[in-house]
């Protein structure tokens, strides 16, 4: 492996952090950067991501621990790449840090993260892919009794279905996935390709943990995670853009007919919500009545199974409302509203109804 690639592997987390600190320019504390990287669901975080043009990094490191981030930040301070003054606790780049950022930027060229749009989709893609490869290779080898490497019931269900569709022509199917994957892997960074390959579990070959990958490739643990995420984002986008070129891989992308069904006006409302704007401001900005904004949100919740209803109702409220709906066995809003003794307004009830409808249709599959 050549020197340039080694440097890339060593520096990815630093590069991302310097980019964040540069763009935020002393206006947010380290906590703001942490919230961005773990993808905290708050309007503040979403708003910051957009305002500082850091949407690409949103939720690319969900498992990051606060204390681990602090260690790296302190390291950067020691290396005099950033400074944090005591009174405002906000990091800024030093002149040396700016030089460093420029150098890294040249070295890296473009990054392919698209966190805000893809973080959930990439996770689904990743888990489906790992489990599916484990499944088809074990089955091909006649090993029916293997223990799946993921616990997520939705992923298990999907893999089972897909396996059943392809089991008659299993080897062709394995070959097709291999060819498409290989063509992608040889076109990306060598180290990322190697990490991804060693993470895969096949028949009688269990993939490596992140710590093991870190030891094997002599990379910091953070960078193992980030390089793997980077590769996944890259693969995902290549497949999504040209599904015709990657027919076997495109099935791992979560099916979402959703967006085509939503009206334009609702789309616009949704975009503003995603940017972290609150409903009152949206209503003012778009000169629409609040009830219309509510209609938009319910519309999207109905169409998109992954619509984040929890931005508007808490888990506990959902539980409370859905219990009443279940008990009454009715869709009549008035009855539900009355049974809840006016505690929740119609908007909340409709949202929960929309969510329950998805769960029912999932249960049928």
């Amino acid at each position: 492996m050549d020197m340039v690639q080694d440097k890339r592997g060593m520096s990815v987390f630093e590069y991302i952090l310097l980019r964040c600190i540069n763009n935020i320019n002393g206006e947010r504390t380290t906590a703001g950067i942490y919230n961005l990287l773990v993808g905290k669901r708050s309007s503040q975080t979403l708003q910051d991501a957009h305002a500082y043009q850091l949407t690409e990094f949103f939720a690319i490191y969900k498992s990051l621990e606060r204390t681990d981030l602090m260690k790296v930040i302190n390291q950067l301070i020691e290396e005099r790449k950033i400074i944090i003054t005591d009174e405002d606790e906000r990091p800024r780049l030093t002149a040396y840090g700016s030089d460093q950022l420029e150098r890294l930027s040249d070295e890296w060229g473009p990054l392919y993260f698209n966190g805000i749009k893809l973080h959930e989709k990439v996770t689904v893609f990743e888990e489906r892919f790992y489990l599916y490869i484990q499944t088809i290779t074990n089955m091909k080898k006649g090993k029916k009794h293997f223990i799946p490497i993921t616990d997520r019931p939705d992923i298990l269900k999907w893999v089972k279905l897909s396996y059943n569709v392809n089991k008659a022509t299993l080897m062709d199917h394995i070959n097709a996935i291999y060819k498409e994957l290989y063509s992608l892997l040889i076109s990306v960074n060598e180290k990322e390709a190697a990490l991804f390959t060693y993470r895969l579990t096949g028949a009688g070959m269990i993939g490596l943990s992140k710590q093991q990958l870190s030891d094997m490739f002599h990379l910091p643990l953070h960078n193992v995670h980030l390089l793997m995420q980077h590769l996944l984002h890259q693969i995902y986008q290549a497949v999504e853009k040209n599904p015709g070129n990657y027919p076997a891989l495109s099935v791992f992308i979560e099916e979402s007919k959703a967006n085509r069904l939503i009206t334009n006006s609702a789309q616009k409302t949704y975009l503003l919500i995603k940017q972290g704007m609150d409903l009152e401001t949206i209503s003012e900005r778009r000169r629409l009545k609040m009830s219309t904004i509510h209609d938009h949100i319910v519309e999207m919740a109905l169409v998109q199974s992954d619509f984040p209803v929890y931005l508007f109702v808490s888990e506990q409220e959902i539980e409370e409302i859905s219990q009443v709906i279940d008990e009454l066995q009715t869709n009549k809003l008035k009855n539900i509203y009355d049974a809840l003794q006016g505690k929740f307004d119609y908007f909340f009830i409709r949202l929960v109804q929309a969510r329950m409808q998805h769960q029912k249709s999932e249960a049928k599959v």
Binding site: S63, I133, T137, K140, K141, K144, H145, F146, I147, P148, I149, T150, D151, P153, M171, I174, N175, I177, Y178, L181, Y182, L185, E190, A193, A194, T197, Y198, L200, T201, G202, A203, G204, M205, I206, G207, L208, S209, K210, Q211, Q212, D215, M216, E315, E319, D326, Q359, A363
Partner: protein, 511 residues
């Protein structure tokens, strides 16, 4: 009904050729509707005692198990053998998943449930609607406060059994002193029962204890011990930091060994991978905390090494029981240094509330009472009062027993509360003394100058079997010079292109 023998059924459903000690006796009694107390050593296939009846009998089998991770592992393992009508009700489920599962319970033959879930009326009602023919209490020692993992939820099981219309009851444990056995029987009301008690000592395990001055010395000793032999090994630590540190150190020093660590602080996906690598013989040495190994059924573990000891003999015996499930020779090694005493003491303290905690909790409850509020969710209370889970569970249980709490409602009475405070501080004191006494029992063993085997099992049974292997260091086993022999393990770094071809079975077509 068919005419297959139990052996044939065993072969047919689980693929085993023969029963292990005790299994057939317990299964026969259970199938004849008799209540059974079964004490079988760890690793001897306790779960078959209810899994086979579950498959064969008409009704549903409900298994209460305190360890959620164990439950999940068992469900997975059963599904992998082809038995699909099994599920688990536990706190890992989201409200939606739970609701869905509860509406489909009739589909299952074997249902694992955590003791907390049996406190939930909706869950009990749904289960009541089924025909439950067998009710299994796994890890039944949890019902006794003299057991090593007392769980207050277990005390309420007798009531639940009544609600289920008196199914056959099977109480199972791997480690229960005679005192604890008595407790299980009386708490579960198993007046007419068959007892199947099997000694816990295994003939294929040798024991050794070595005293050192300093923890760092232990690492050097372990390197020495493992360096010239091939032997799948588990090393137990009482802290995550130590497990990680030792793993790093050992992989450096033993470069031909594949070493990894495992603990509860790791990401779920990484935990699953490490666990399966060890099962799959891709790892030689695993440095772990007690979080590892619950559902692990790896047969060929040769060494179980205790870098740190647990807080009582029962846990130690269970951990050692993971060695040699294939019946072949295996060795338990304990490395002890004087500073080790400190860790378990701290652990025991963290499990019990202090007087100040009790006072703080009562004040908190009183404020809620005055505000007319109910008791919030456990996590919130724990956070507010800075209590560990076990501390809060302990206080809460006694609040219920003494009617300071009625479900989530707070019942105030000044005199009663005062009395309660005195009672509970005494209770804490007793528990602490009891737990320290248990710890001292294990320490006495570590320091004793006598046969390790006899000493270890003496609290549980009158005698031990003559081992098939060298007994222990005291009885003359020269364990430091013993070796399981070498086996070539090839560690080579494959090019990723080749690895990918191998995973995708791309070489096969040229064969």
């Amino acid at each position: 009904m068919n005419n297959r023998s139990l052996e044939q059924e065993l072969k047919h459903y689980f693929g085993f050729d023969a029963f292990k000690t005790g299994q057939k006796e317990i299964i026969t009694d259970v199938m004849n509707g008799k209540d059974v107390l079964g004490i079988l050593p760890t690793g001897s296939g306790k779960s078959i005692c209810y899994q086979l009846p579950a498959v064969l009998s008409e009704g549903v089998t409900v298994v209460v198990s305190p360890l959620v991770s164990l439950m999940v592992d068992q469900v997975k393992a059963l599904k992998a053998t082809g038995f699909k009508r099994v599920t688990a009700i536990n706190s890992f489920l989201s409200p939606v998943q739970k609701k869905q599962l509860l509406s489909q319970l009739a589909h299952y033959k074997l249902i694992y449930v955590s003791p907390e879930m049996l406190q939930n009326n909706i869950v009990v009602e749904q289960l009541q609607a089924l025909h439950i023919s067998l009710f299994v209490v796994d890890e039944a020692h949890c019902i006794s406060q003299w057991g090593h993992e007392f769980r207050t939820d277990y005390l309420k099981l007798a009531k639940v059994i009544e609600l289920f219309n008196q199914p056959t009851v099977l109480a199972l444990s791997g480690t229960a002193t005679p005192e604890v056995q008595e407790d299980i029987i009386s708490q579960l009301g198993m007046i007419h029962r068959e007892s199947h008690i099997y000694p816990m000592d295994k003939e294929n395990i040798s024991f050794a204890i070595e005293h050192v001055e300093h923890p760092n010395e232990k690492l050097m000793k372990i390197e020495q011990l493992l360096k010239d032999q091939y032997a799948p090994t588990m090393i137990y630590f009482s802290s995550r930091q130590w497990a990680e540190r030792a793993s790093g150190e050992l992989s450096k020093q033993l470069s031909d060994k594949r070493v990894a660590f495992y603990h509860g602080g790791m990401e779920q996906s990484d935990r699953l991978l490490i666990q399966q690598q060890f099962m799959n013989d891709q790892l030689d040495i695993i440095c772990c905390t007690s979080a590892f190994g619950m559902g692990i059924n790896k047969k060929n573990i040769r060494y179980v090494i205790h870098f740190h000891l647990p807080t009582q003999t029962e846990s130690f015996i269970q951990e050692v029981g993971r060695a040699g499930r294939d019946g072949a020779h295996s060795i338990s090694v304990v490395y002890y240094s004087p500073s080790d005493d400190f860790l378990p003491k701290k652990l025991i303290q963290s499990e019990l509330p202090e007087a100040g905690d009790i006072q703080k909790t009562l004040n908190y409850l009183f404020n809620l009472y005055q505000a007319g509020a109910k008791l919030p969710a456990d996590e919130l209370v724990q956070e507010e009062l800075e209590l560990t889970e076990t501390q809060w569970r302990f206080i809460k249980y006694h609040c219920h027993q003494h009617h300071l709490l009625n479900q989530q409602a707070i019942v105030f009475n000044r005199d009663k509360w005062k009395e309660f405070y005195t009672f509970l501080t005494n209770q804490v004191d007793n528990r602490y003394k009891y737990k320290m006494a248990k710890f001292s029992e294990l320490m006495r063993w570590v320091h004793s100058q006598a046969c390790r085997r006899k000493g270890l099992y003496q609290p549980f049974q009158n005698s031990v079997k003559t081992p098939d292997v060298p007994c222990c260091d005291y009885c003359g086993f020269d364990w430091r010079n013993f070796s399981f022999g070498q086996k070539e393990t090839v560690i080579f770094q494959q090019d990723w292109h080749d690895r990918l071809r191998e995973i995708f079975l791309q070489g096969d077509k040229h064969e």
